[in-house]
């Protein structure tokens, strides 16, 4: 979720410069950044990050730009490694016996950037404040698993209480979280930025702290020049493992990705998080090894609207057939310029619980079998499908390619149903007015298969806008939620995923990739599977 997709794609058209870097026409001759030049541990580099849409309060950073800042300024209790496994960060331990009562112990010596100690109270107060409906935090529902959430966040009317009864401070460094029902994978949720601690000053003036956040993370907030840039410097007293190897970072706001790319070519910008469609085909010639494609835990699917006449009582075989009629390999290589990778399951690759080959041949192109399956399933009602997409997101090309592929392989007619922008697209989905199928995207909230299954296809899930409801699948999800421990939950959800290919709640298309690039000023630039640069590892070269 790092950001509502709207923000990510629309707002990716945003940025400014003013470099800490020198001006002048740089060369784009494809030098590798890993040259022999010495590293400057105090060096500052720049990343293209647009103007955050919301105040910089941890539970308010729903879109990608703001959440970049929050993640640099705050450290969470836990973090994840490359395989999607939980590692401790600010927490010494996060333990439970019954998956319902969780005990958190904090590490010693951590302080906020203003010198205040990070205590159990910093966390509990922060969560109580963020969950309170009166404070209008867009991510407030993240605390809904905690007992007493309804008291601070009622469906209607004023909150009954300022605190959730499930949160208890035991001592300076220990607190407990009681959930309203057991969740064996709750520690995964704790990695998201909404769970940040807050210093005591925050609650007296949340607005001022939203303009200039004070956190416990590796980077200290310096200043925010609106619509231009956000400056962060390395926090000298940072106690975490991921101590920065640089002096700080500047998030520059660009009006378009193309403008950002031009600045990257001339070394006025050091890292571009996503190269724009116009420059993708030439990124390798311009940047050489400095143009990198990195796996990203996000998936794109086409989703049948199950509330329509067309798909209401459809035989899943038809959907399996349509899935096999899509030549994912060719489309990702040609139309999409290798910026995506064909999906092999409902779950993204870098996520705990991902299973290789779970789909059988359902996600593999096979025109003959596709045709056969559709016939066996009784054919597509009306023999024509529409794929709804938003015209402002660069989807038109691949929707047309997918349609061509389906038409050629099966003879089922297929056309795009273009909505002018993302807002209109969402509006039609919310109002359940999609006439056939729609484009769906999902970026991980936390790197666990549960997030790609239950939160999208559970019949009561908020992310389920297609009207898919299946008792068997719901039952399998429930089994996972009732599992004794994390491993049990992951396994149960893996079973559920297998069953899902018999029901086809959606047709997975491909996984996203982050196509980033960097200048000759920096080296050791890597991105994580959330699509974010790993800031603390980046090294700035001496000039």
């Amino acid at each position: 979720m790092r950001g509502a997709k709207s923000a990510k794609w629309v707002a990716m058209a945003a940025v400014v410069a003013l470099g800490a870097t020198a001006c002048g026409g740089g060369s784009g001759d494809g030098d590798s950044g890993d040259s022999k030049a010495a590293v400057d541990p105090k060096g500052i580099f720049s990343v293209d990050v647009g103007e955050p849409q919301n105040p910089l309060q941890p539970a308010n950073a729903k879109e990608s730009n703001g959440s970049k800042v929050i993640k640099a300024v705050f450290s969470q209790l836990v973090d994840f490694d490359e395989k999607g496994e939980v590692v401790m960060e600010n927490a010494e331990s996060v333990e439970t016996e019954d998956s319902k009562l969780w005990t958190v112990k904090l590490k010693d010596g951590w302080t906020f950037h203003n010198g205040e100690a990070v205590t159990a109270k910093s966390y509990v107060d922060s969560w109580n404040w963020s969950a309170n409906i009166k404070n209008n935090q867009t991510n407030s529902y993240w605390f809904s698993d905690i007992k007493g959430f309804e008291d601070v966040h009622p469906e209607k009317g004023d909150p009954k209480s300022d605190t959730m009864s499930g949160l208890k401070v035991v001592d300076e460094k220990t607190f407990t979280i009681e959930l309203s029902s057991p969740i064996p994978y709750f520690q995964y949720k704790l990695g998201y930025d909404v769970w940040s601690p807050l210093p005591s000053g925050f609650f007296k003036d949340p607005e001022a702290y939203g303009e200039k956040p004070v956190g416990n993370g590796a980077y200290e907030f310096v200043k925010w020049e609106h619509k231009k840039q956000i400056e962060l410097k390395t926090y000298a007293d940072y106690k975490g493992e991921d101590k920065p190897k640089n002096g700080g970072v500047i998030f520059k706001n660009y009006t378009t990705v193309e403008a950002g790319y031009q600045d990257l070519l001339s070394n006025n910008l050091d890292i571009i998080r996503q190269i724009g469609p116009k420059d993708l085909p030439k990124r390798k010639t311009d940047l050489g090894e400095r143009a990198v494609d990195q796996d990203y835990n996000a998936i794109q699917s086409i989703v049948p609207a199950f509330y329509t006449k067309q798909w209401k009582d459809i035989d899943p075989k038809v959907l399996q057939g349509l899935s096999m009629a899509i030549d994912r390999d060719t489309i990702t290589k040609t139309v999409l310029n290798n910026t995506r990778e064909p999906a092999t399951s409902f779950v993204a690759k870098g996520v705990a619980g991902f299973q290789e080959g779970v789909a059988g041949d359902i996600l593999t192109y096979d025109a003959a079998k596709a045709k056969k399956l559709i016939e066996e399933g009784g054919g597509v009602p009306g023999n024509k499908i529409f794929i709804q997409f938003n015209a402002d997101g660069g989807h038109k090309e691949w929707v047309e390619a997918v349609c061509n592929s389906i038409r050629k392989a099966t003879g089922v007619d297929c056309a795009g149903d273009s909505k002018p922008d993302f807002q209109t697209d969402l509006d039609a989905r919310d109002a359940k007015e999609v006439k056939s199928m729609y484009r769906g995207g999902w970026v991980q909230d936390y790197p666990l298969n549960v997030n790609f299954l239950r939160d999208l296809y559970g019949s009561k899930a908020d992310g389920n806008t297609s009207g898919f409801a299946d008792k068997e699948i719901d039952g399998l999800f429930k089994k996972g939620d009732n599992a004794a421990d994390l491993d049990g939950a992951i396994k149960a959800y893996q079973e559920a995923e297998k069953a899902m290919f018999e029901k086809m709640p959606a047709i997975p298309l491909w996984y996203y990739k982050t196509n980033f690039g960097y200048s000759t000023n920096v080296k050791n630039v890597k991105f994580n599977t959330e699509g974010d640069p790993i800031l603390h590892d980046i090294e700035v070269l001496k000039k």
Binding site: L18, G25, Y141, K227, A259
Partner: protein, 309 residues
Amino acid sequence: MGRYVARRLLQMIPVFIGTTLLIFLMMYALPGDPVRALYGEQSVDVSQIAAIKAEYGLDKPLWQQYINYLTGLPQGDFGTQIASRRPVAEVIGEAFPVTIRLTILAFVFTVLVGVSMGIVSGMRAGRKTDTSVLVITLALISVPSFVLGFLFQWLFAMQFGWVTPTVQDSMNVGQLLLPAIVLASLSLAYVARLTRTSIAENLRADYMRTAVAKGLPRRRIISMHLMRNSMIPVVTFLGIDIGSLMTGAIITEGIFNVQGIGNLVYLALSRREGATVVGIVTVMVLIYLFVNLLVDLLYAVLDPRIRYV
């Protein structure tokens, strides 16, 4: 004259109310909901959305929202942005100085270069200079501004290294020069064509012959008699053009990374931030009305036959 201006100023009030109401209604009619949009494709929290809407008065009927908006305006309250929770006046206040700088630069460039090109080719109508100006202006009119933008960026930044490819500081006039030239190029071509036609035509006018017959020096004939009369259509065009230079810069702003009004309106529209869009349009309407008044008054200065009572 004074009464005329007063009447024009009074006429602005209904125009102003009418335009704000229209934009207000249009924003309301667009599909999509700015608060719902904060949640994007992810899980939606209905009760929190309702709470946020209540805080901004978005749950009230449309007429009441409009009246609230209108009553806030005289106190300088343009409303609050839903996502950023910053006052709209502050957000517009950041973008306007940038746009004004860019517009003034582009405008000055248009007037200086456009009018002089027009005069030169008008005076030599039908000759080589005229033909070459015709070719240049035709080229400028037919090349879309983004092509010119990318071309200049490639040429002056990538090849010559004279400037950075994008504007590093949107308030820096020197850096805004390149985008201003790109922005001005289309208007410049129109201004040159208009001036040329007007001059070429007026050269044959009776009053010109009289002026020559009176034995006035050539310089005085051109500057006082020919120019003044030929400028009327050009001034009309320039008046309208200021508005389009201010709001129409979105493509140029995008290429050169200028944080101006065009980009602000675009983002606000795509996020359905009604108050921001209405606020910007309101300011633009005001500017437009004043510039038009100024143009009308200029007519009287240019042509003594025009009198306002």
